[in-house]
């Protein structure tokens, strides 16, 4: 096994493009190292991104949004007061992953690139309209989070490409986000269903909304029909019923050890209602 420690993303990209055999990028390592120890997957080359300058920074951009370094841990996000205040749904989704120890290492980008349909931070990022900067042999491009995973364990990243930053949009006025997942226990578990909703209000009326849905399809989904169900409403019961129905309708789950098709489809609608109400309350301030 070869271990690389690049000093910038271009070097990381070159290393990945030239690697022989299976390659893994290392940031927090909470998937890569665990898979190695459990003898699930042992890469031939590891490219450690933690030593690239700036990867541990949370930066306020000029447009009011945030740039999150690819090695920023969940714990660092949770303890960042301004980020947490503006994007509580996104920060709390990240905070749900793993234990306190895992929170000290786990990253948004790792959660995204591991490409598990049940990744908690992904529906929350989709709802928030987060994009990532992808660096590759042909330079950089910005990609919406929902376009990164293409199936369980698979991403849209080409050979030699890697994510070099996470871009959270400006919060703006009268907006709020929330994320909830269903697990049979209280913590330390994998989502059976996860719903993230971000919305903006004009008075009592929802003017913008995005709904991200996790663990009910091969990838996390952006559900436009669910958003449409509440845009233009005051989130009354009729709107919530439509939201729940549209969310359930978008589910394409499987029966597995974590839940049945019927259960996941039903609970997705239940969570959508609850999450929308929380986001609405937060948007009202």
């Amino acid at each position: 096994m070869k271990y690389h420690k690049p000093q910038d993303f271009d070097e990381a990209s070159r290393l990945a493009a030239g690697a022989k055999g299976a390659t893994r990028f290392l940031a927090g390592g909470t998937d890569v190292l665990v898979q190695m120890r459990a003898d699930v997957f042992t890469p031939d080359e590891i490219i450690d991104l933690k030593h690239i300058p700036g990867v541990k920074d949370i930066t306020r951009r000029a447009d009011g949004g945030w740039t999150i370094g690819i090695a920023v841990s969940g714990a660092e996000m949770s303890e960042h007061a301004d980020l947490h205040a503006e994007w509580p749904g996104l920060v709390e989704a990240m905070d749900l992953i793993g234990s306190t120890q895992v929170q000290g290492r786990a990253t948004l980008v790792g959660n995204l690139c591991n490409a598990s349909p049940a990744a908690d931070s992904v529906p929350a990022m989709i709802a928030a309209g987060v994009t990532v900067t992808v660096t590759g042999p042909n330079g950089s491009r910005e990609v919406a989070v929902e376009d990164i995973p293409t199936g369980p364990g698979k991403t849209a990243l080409a050979r030699g490409e890697l994510i070099s930053a996470v871009n959270i949009p400006a919060r703006g006025d009268h907006g709020g986000d929330a994320y909830e997942r269903f697990i049979p226990r209280t913590e330390m578990d994998i989502a059976v269903v996860g719903v993230g909703i971000n919305l903006r209000l004009d008075g009592d009326t929802v003017t913008e909304a995005r709904v991200g849905l996790g663990a009910v399809a091969p990838t996390a989904l952006l559900v436009q029909e669910a958003a449409d169900a509440i845009i233009g409403t005051t989130l009354d019961d009729a709107a919530l019923d439509k939201l729940a129905a549209a969310t359930s309708a978008a589910c394409k789950p499987i029966n597995d050890k974590r839940g049945t098709v019927e259960f996941r489809t039903h609970v997705a609608g239940v969570l959508a209602r609850r999450v929308a109400l929380t986001a609405y309350k937060r948007a009202k301030g």
Binding site: P184, D189, I190, K257, R258, F263, V267
Partner: protein
């Protein structure tokens, strides 16, 4: 009461009703092993190493049922660093196959290393030892096994069907009636009276069907051992086990050496709950060590623990109970089908015998079936078989109470077994404490506390036999008057503290002055495994007797010094004292003074006790549970939990309470989310803790405990075992609480959210 007045009866092990004042017993000092455990100094199974040690890995079947056509080890043996490879051919070949439990030694061997067939996903088929753990892992991948995959079955009801694939023809014993699939290997039937006439007397008869999935003990420490076996047939084994004499006996037979030539030392143990009463990796490590002539360390991964150790049996049960309007149970009948994997041994007789034990019944009948499937060989799990029986029986009693509008505790009190009751499984009960637990539960503030909307309350009783077993203890005095106590039962629940308290009580020296050691197999006579809730009872009884033997010897030294008869000396608070004016005027002699001179006054002072005590008193408990169910998602929270249990006499109340709370905590996991999930391919789907959902700390409420003390007539202080009874009521108590909260009866465990939601929908749709 001075000890010299103690009149032993039948070997001196009966309860002494006059011994009611205690100095040390009933106090709560820190456990002697506590500091080692919280600082990481304690040595567990995987913590031992030896010079020149090799690491081992086991090749396991990926198939639920397959004929092993060929095993090619040549590539692994050619790999650098590999020092030995073993298959079934490297184990004893003279152990006979016999039907039923008569061939248990063959069953253990077949489970440790597959012979002609792999019988479940995870069954060991070969093993390799190499100079590093990584090399061993890679070498294991180079061992090529050719399988002919066979049809499999993992569900108990399906395994009983006439057309089910037969796991192993010829295994059923003579107890099984005609007409069953050969997978039904043992049969039990017991009871008394006439249930049909009993049902005819009832105002309401309820008959229902229940299922429970297999669960794992979930001990935090995976199995681990360090083995050394020479070609001279002499061996040393360090391992994590609940009983090292049993390990010695089984391993010696499986690798074909004399028992006494294998010295086994038990490490500290990170949980067992019955699951570490068997051998899995130890014989394999010994066989590898003999072949490599080097020490071999073998440590299981969590996935191996789930796939290839011994979970509990899964069950399918039918219960029929008749009740009068006043709550009198007129008859009870139960059918209990248990699958215990690819070997006989599922505890169908315990399930059947415990099912109705809490109740005094004129008419009762129970049958049990032991059924084989393509799953790992079940092992004991805390009161094996009893929790599942209680789940089914107590659910039906709850439903009867509900439909007849009766209070569930009053109904249980009305029917409760008492001293003299003919038990559902045969004998008459001696003094027991079921009524006392029910009265304490009724009086507890929990039982009358108001419930919030969406919450429900459940009650259940539970029963376990408890056990005595072969026990030997040695207590050796040191020159400074402190004492070394050697017991042979691994400490799985704070027993060193309890032993030290009982020895301190008898010797009259401080708790801290007693060092309790779990002796290796070369240092004591045979000790049965730490199981059956037997340790505080049996090793405790032996400790008391060994201490009394020591005190007799101490008094003799004082008597000799004073030149008086030893009967004229009594023992009090660590001093030998002349028993009265007629004995003479002598200054009381302290234990330290006697021991300081022991070399010159007759030699070392050592007390012994060896016996198989048979007076383990049975034990009962009553649990109260409040649960809250989210009707939209089926998610359950246990919001309040109270355990009331008869301990006979609590030696160290904190560790008794710990057992009560632990039983409730494991029961919550078993009831709500834990289960073995097999796919269509017969492979275990959830062999890691992420998907095998034991409760995390935040899933549990604070668990309140009430210790009831109704003395066991068979122990000098009245001790009853407490470790297992605490897991008998939770499944039923939680199911009754959840059913009340949900407004729908839950008949299948675990009561996972999808199952609860499905039950709610079924109820809503009529």
């Amino acid at each position: 009461m001075a000890l010299d007045e103690y009149k032993p009866q039948k070997g001196g092990t009966e309860y002494d009703p006059e011994k009611t004042e205690f100095t040390f017993v009933g106090t709560r000092p820190d456990r002697p092993d506590g500091l080692d455990k919280v600082t990481g100094r304690a040595k567990f199974g995987a913590d031992m190493s030896a010079p020149g040690m090799l690491h081992a890995a086991i090749v396991r079947s990926p198939h639920a049922h397959a004929r092993i056509v060929k095993i090619d080890t040549s590539k692994a043996e050619a790999m650098k660093g590999v020092k030995a490879v073993v298959t079934r051919a490297d184990f004893a070949d003279d152990i006979p196959f016999k039907p039923g439990m008569g061939g248990e030694l063959w069953n253990v061997l077949e489970n440790v290393m597959a012979g002609e067939k792999a019988l479940y996903d995870g069954h060991a088929v070969a093993a390799v030892a190499a100079t590093s753990a990584l090399e061993a892992r890679d070498a294991a991948k180079l061992i090529e096994v050719e399988y002919e995959v066979l049809p499999h079955v993992t569900d108990v009801d399906k395994a009983m069907a006439p057309d089910a694939p037969v796991i192993r023809a010829g295994t059923r014993d003579r107890s099984v009636p005609e007409g069953f699939n050969e997978n039904v290997v043992r049969y039990h039937e017991s009871g008394h009276g006439d249930v049909e006439s009993g049902f005819a007397e009832a105002d309401l008869v309820i008959e229902d069907h229940f299922k429970t999935e297999a669960t794992h003990q979930g001990y935090i420490e995976p199995h681990a051992c360090l083995a050394m076996l020479g070609n001279d047939g002499k061996g040393e084994l360090w391992c994590c086990t609940q009983g090292h004499w049993n390990v010695q006996k089984l391993c010696a037979a499986l690798v074909g050496i004399e028992q006494s030539q294998l010295r086994v030392t038990a490490s500290e143990i990170g949980g067992g709950f019955g699951g570490k009463t068997a051998v899995f990796i130890e014989p394999v490590a010994l066989a590898l060590s003999r072949k490599a002539n080097r020490p071999v360390k073998l440590v299981m991964s969590r996935s191996e623990v789930f796939r290839a150790t011994g979970p509990t049996a899964s069950t399918s049960m039918d219960i029929k109970i008749g009740m009068k309007k006043d709550g009198t149970i007129t008859a009870a009948q139960g059918t209990f089908r248990l699958q215990g994997g690819a070997f006989p041994g599922a505890p169908c007789e315990f399930t059947a015998m415990c099912a109705f034990a809490p109740y005094a019944l004129e008419n009762v009948h129970q049958v049990g079936y032991d059924v084989m499937t393509n799953r790992p060989k079940q092992a004991a799990y805390r009161a094996p078989g009893s929790p599942m029986a209680a789940f089914a029986v107590e659910s039906v009693i709850d439903e009867l109470c509900k439909q007849l509008d009766l209070d569930p505790i009053e109904v249980r009190l009305k029917n409760a077994s008492k001293e003299g009751t003919k038990a559902s499984y045969g004998p008459r009960f001696q003094r027991i404490g079921l009524v006392e637990t029910l009265e304490a539960a009724k009086a507890h503030p929990h039982y009358s506390a108001p419930l919030k909307p969406g919450q429900g309350r459940g009650i259940s009783c539970g029963f376990w036999f408890n056990h005595g077993g072969e026990t030997s203890v040695t207590l050796a005095m040191s020159e400074d008057g402190s004492a070394q106590l050697m017991v042979g039962t691994p400490d799985i629940g704070g027993s060193r503290a309890s032993m030290a308290l009982m020895a301190a009580e008898e010797l009259g020296i401080p708790y801290e002055n007693i060092r309790v050691t779990i002796a290796d197999t070369a240092s004591l006579g045979y000790n049965e495994v730490s199981h059956g809730s037997r340790v505080t009872y049996a090793s405790g009884l032996a400790t008391i007797q060994a201490a009394r033997d020591t005190v007799r010897k101490l008094k003799k030294r004082a008597a000799d010094k004073w030149g008086i008869d030893e009967d004229a000396v009594y023992w009090e608070d660590g001093y030998a004292k002349p028993s009265g004016p007629n004995a003479g005027e002598f200054e009381p002699m302290h234990i330290s003074k006697i021991c300081a001179k022991m070399g010159a006054t007759g030699g070392p002072i050592v007390g012994h006790y060896e016996a198989t005590p048979e007076g383990a008193g049975v034990s009962f408990a009553t649990h109260i549970v409040d649960a809250e169910v989210d009707p939209e998602t089926g998610k359950t929270s246990v919001v309040r939990y109270t355990v009331v249990q008869d301990a006979g006499k609590a030696i160290h109340p904190t560790y008794v309470e710990g057992q009560y709370q632990g039983g409730a905590a494991q029961g919550i996991g078993w009831a709500l989310n834990e289960e073995y999930i097999y796919g269509e391919d017969g492979r275990l789907q959830n062999s890691v803790f992420l998907d095998y959902r034991i409760p995390v700390a935040s899933d549990l409420p604070m668990i309140d405990t009430v210790i009831v003390e109704v003395p066991n007539p068979g122990h000098p202080y009245g001790v009853r075992g407490v470790g297992e009874t605490s897991i008998c009521p939770p499944l039923a108590a939680i199911a009754n609480a959840v059913s009340a909260a949900a407004g729908a009866r839950l008949r299948e465990l675990p009561m996972s959210p999808p199952r609860i939601l499905a039950a709610l929908e079924k109820q809503a749709n009529g």
